[in-house]
C-alpha cells in the first residue's frame, strides 16, 4: 500500500525538525568558536592596551650636591614615593655628564612610580591614602598624566614595571629567528628538493618521509630536551643564547618548511619538467632553473608560516634557558638573551598587578607581529597563486 505525499509529509515533520536542529547546532558550534575568538581578543585588548600608556608626573627637580650622592634628595619629600626609582637613579649620571646642571632647579616631566600609574588607570594600587590625595591633586593641576609609553619599546626587562620593556626580548627574537632561518631554510628546501625531485622511491626514502611527518607531530618540549642534552651538554653551545634557541627552533621548523616546500614543488606540473628535460637539461638544471623559480612563492609562504610558528614557541626555549632576566639589549648570538614569548612568560609570573598589564601588552605586540607575518604569507600565496 503506497502513501500519498501528504501522508508522507506528515510523518516527516519530526525528522525535518531534527534535521534543522543539527544545522543550528553545527552553526552554533562554529559560532561558539568565533565568539571565543572575539572574547579572547577583546579581553587581551582591554588588559593590554593600558600598557602602552604610562603615568608621568611633573615635579621640581633640584640638582643640588646632595642629589649626586642620594638621588632621592633631588625631589621634594612629598613626591619621593611617587617618582620612579629607575628615573632617580639616572640623576647622578646626568649631573656628571652635564656639570652645568648643578645648582639649577627645573620643572620636569618624569616617569612616575608603577603604583601611581596603576592608581591613575583606576586599578588597585598600594598607595597610601595621603599619597593618593597628592596624586589626585597633581592630576587636577594637570601635573600627572598618562602619556604614550615609549619605555615599553625601547628598554629591556626590569624589576620595576614602569621601566620594563620588550626591546631586549624583541632583539632576542630577531637573533633567534635569524639563526633558525639560516639553518632551517636551506636544509629544509634541500631536503624537500631531494625527496621530491631526486630520491628513488625506496624503503629509505619512505623512512625519511615517515620520520619527517613524525617530527612535525612531536611535542615541542621534547625538542627542548634535545637542545639541552645535545647542543648544550654535548656540543657546549652557551646556555640561554640565541644560538642554542635558534638551533632548537630550527629543528622544529624543519618539518614545516620541508612539507610546504614539497607541496609547492609538487604543484609544479610535470609538463614543465618534461619540457626542460626535452631541451637537454640535466636533473639539477631542471630543478634550479625551472622548478625552484616557479615554486619559490609557495616555499616562501611555507617558510614564513614556519617562522611565525617558531616565533610563538616558548616551551623548548624555557628548557634551553632562554627565560633569563635580560635588562640590556644583547648584541651577539652567544650571549644570554630572551625572546618575546619567554618575556611574556616571565612577566606573567610576576605577582605585581602592573606586570599583568605589561604581559598583555607584550601579547598584543606578539600577536600583531604574528598576524602580520601570516597575512604576508596569505597575500604572497594569493598574489603568486597560479592555476596550471
Amino acid at each position: 500500500m503506497r502513501q500519498s505525499f501528504d501522508e508522507i509529509s506528515a510523518q516527516l515533520k519530526g525528522r525535518h525538525r531534527k534535521s534543522a536542529r543539527l544545522k543550528w547546532m553545527s552553526m552554533g558550534a562554529l559560532g561558539l568558536a568565533g565568539l571565543f575568538l572575539v572574547f579572547f581578543f577583546t579581553d587581551m585588548l582591554i588588559k593590554g592596551l593600558p600598557a602602552f600608556q604610562q603615568a608621568q608626573i611633573q615635579v621640581q627637580v633640584d640638582y643640588n650636591e646632595m642629589a649626586q650622592e642620594l638621588p632621592l634628595a633631588a625631589v621634594e619629600e612629598e613626591m619621593r614615593p611617587l617618582v620612579s626609582r629607575g628615573y632617580l637613579r639616572l640623576i647622578p649620571g646626568r649631573m656628571e655628564k652635564n656639570p652645568d646642571l648643578l645648582g639649577t632647579t627645573r620643572m620636569e616631566w618624569v616617569l612616575a612610580d608603577g603604583q601611581v600609574d596603576q592608581y591613575l588607570k583606576g586599578h588597585h594600587s598600594n598607595l597610601s591614602g595621603s599619597e593618593q590625595s597628592v596624586v589626585d591633586e597633581l592630576a587636577d593641576n594637570g601635573r600627572a598624566e598618562l602619556k604614550f609609553n615609549t619605555t615599553f619599546f625601547t628598554r629591556g626587562d626590569s624589576k620595576m614595571p614602569e621601566l620594563a620593556g620588550i626591546a631586549s626580548a624583541a632583539m632576542g627574537t630577531v637573533m633567534t629567528l635569524l639563526v633558525t632561518l639560516v639553518v632551517a631554510f636551506p636544509i629544509g628546501v634541500m631536503t624537500a628538493v631531494y625527496l621530491e625531485e631526486f630520491a628513488p622511491d625506496n624503503r629509505f626514502t619512505q623512512i625519511i618521509e615517515i620520520n619527517i611527518n613524525n617530527l612535525a607531530a612531536i611535542p615541542s618540549i621534547l625538542f627542548g630536551l634535545l637542545g639541552l642534552a645535545i647542543f648544550i651538554n654535548f656540543f657546549g653551545v652557551p646556555r640561554s643564547s640565541p644560538l642554542v634557541g635558534g638551533l632548537t627552533l630550527a629543528l622544529m621548523t624543519l618539518p614545516v618548511i620541508i612539507i610546504s616546500t614539497r607541496t609547492a614543488l609538487r604543484s609544479v606540473p610535470e609538463d614543465i619538467r618534461h619540457a626542460a628535460f626535452g631541451v637537454g637539461c640535466s636533473r639539477w638544471q631542471v630543478v634550479r632553473d625551472h622548478v625552484l623559480p616557479v615554486s619559490m612563492p609557495g616555499i616562501m609562504t611555507g617558510s614564513i608560516i614556519g617562522l611565525a610558528q617558531a616565533m610563538g614557541e616558548t616551551a623548548p626555549l624555557i628548557i634551553v634557558g632562554m627565560v633569563a632576566f635580560i635588562p640590556d639589549v644583547s648584541a651577539t648570538v652567544t650571549e644570554a638573551a630572551t625572546v618575546l614569548p619567554a618575556q611574556i612568560f616571565t612577566w606573567a609570573g610576576e605577582p605585581d598587578r602592573a606586570f599583568t598589564e605589561k604581559t598583555a601588552g607584550g601579547i598584543l605586540v606578539l600577536l600583531t607581529i604574528l598576524i602580520t607575518l601570516n597575512a604576508t604569507a596569505v597575500v604572497l600565496r594569493k598574489k603568486f597563486e597560479r592555476r596550471w
Partner: protein, 280 residues
C-alpha cells in the same frame, strides 16, 4: 517545444497530452508523471528546453541521446536531486499524483520517498549488506518489528535477484561485493522503501556485459511493480528493455514514441540519424 508531430503523421498527439498514438499493446496507460514546458538553466546556460512528456505507470521509459543532451539533468528533476546544485533554475510543471513536485509546499524528502533513484556508479553505503537495505525502511517507519525488517530485507534482495548470492554474508560490508552485485544492492535498497517510480541513471554503464544482462532482466521483472525511467547511452539496451523511448538532443525532446516504432520507424530525421549511428 512544439513537436508538430501531427503534420508528420507520427505517433505523437502533440504537446497537449504527449500521449502516443501508436499504442504499445502490452503496456498500461495510467499516467505516472506529467511534464509540461519544463525549462532548466545552469546559471546562464539553458540545459532543458520546453520538455513535454507523459510517463506511464509500470512501464519502462528510456531516455536516449548523445552525451550532454540533458537526459540525466531531466531525470534528476523528477526527484529534485538538482536542488543540490545552487545554480540551477527551473520553470514549468512536473506533475505527479496531481501535485506539482516543484511547488513550495512539496517536501522534496517526501518526493524522494516515492521517486527512488539508482545511480551510474554503484554507491552502497559504508555499512553491511543488510544495513544497506534495512536502513531506509527503518528510518521511514515501514517496519516496526525485527522480524518484519528481516522479511523486508530478504524480499528486497530477492526482488533485486541478489538474495542467493548474499544470504550467507549479510553482515559483510556492501563494498565487498562485485560491481554488478553492488548495483543490484543499490536497486534492492531503492525498492525496499516501496517507491512508485525508480529513476535509473545509466545503471549499467559501469558494469561488465554479464552484470548488464542481469540488471536488464531485473528491470523487466521490476516493471510489474514500479514505474521505471532509465537513462541509457546504449541504444540496444533501450531497444531491449524499454516500452517507451524519448530521444533527447541539445536539451530538447526530439521524439517520444513507443520503443518499437522509435527503433523500427523513427519519425524524425535526427532520431533516425542517431539510432543508425550517424552521430552520438
Amino acid at each position: 517545444m512544439d513537436m508538430k508531430v501531427a503534420d508528420r503523421g507520427v505517433t505523437m498527439s502533440g504537446h497537449e497530452t504527449g500521449q502516443p498514438v501508436t499504442r504499445n499493446e502490452q503496456a498500461n496507460h495510467e499516467l505516472s508523471i506529467r511534464v509540461r514546458d519544463l525549462n532548466l538553466w545552469y546559471g546562464e546556460t539553458q540545459a532543458l528546453k520546453n520538455i513535454n512528456i507523459d510517463v506511464f505507470q509500470k512501464d519502462i521509459t528510456a531516455l536516449i541521446g548523445p552525451s550532454g543532451c540533458g537526459k540525466s539533468t531531466f531525470l534528476r528533476c523528477l526527484n529534485r536531486m538538482n536542488d543540490l546544485i545552487p545554480s540551477v533554475k527551473l520553470e514549468g510543471l512536473i506533475e505527479m499524483d496531481g501535485r506539482n513536485v516543484n511547488e513550495v509546499k512539496m517536501d522534496e524528502v517526501a518526493l524522494r520517498r516515492r521517486v527512488g533513484m539508482v545511480f551510474q556508479k554503484p554507491n552502497p553505503f559504508p555499512k553491511s549488506i543488510f544495513e544497506n537495505v534495512a536502513y531506509a525502511p527503518r528510518m521511514h517507519d515501514l517496519v516496526s518489528r525485527k522480524a518484519d525488517q528481516d522479511e523486508l530485507v530478504e524480499q528486497a534482495l530477492r526482488d533485486a535477484g541478489l538474495w542467493n548470492e548474499v544470504k550467507d554474508k549479510l553482515h559483510e560490508p556492501g563494498t565487498s561485493l562485485s560491481g554488478g552485485q553492488q548495483q543490484r544492492l543499490c536497486i534492492a535498497r531503492a525498492i525496499a522503501v516501496q517507491p512508485d517510480v525508480i529513476l535509473m541513471d545509466e545503471p549499467t554503464s559501469a558494469l561488465d556485459p554479464i552484470s548488464t544482462a542481469t540488471i536488464e532482466d531485473l528491470m523487466d521483472k521490476l516493471k510489474q511493480q514500479f514505474t521505471i525511467i532509465t537513462v541509457t547511452h546504449n541504444m540496444q539496451q533501450a531497444a531491449r528493455v524499454a516500452d517507451y523511448t524519448a530521444f533527447f538532443h541539445l536539451g530538447e525532446i526530439v521524439e517520444y514514441n513507443d520503443t518499437k516504432t522509435m527503433f523500427a520507424n523513427p519519425h524524425t530525421k535526427k532520431a533516425e540519424d542517431y539510432i543508425t549511428g550517424r552521430y552520438g
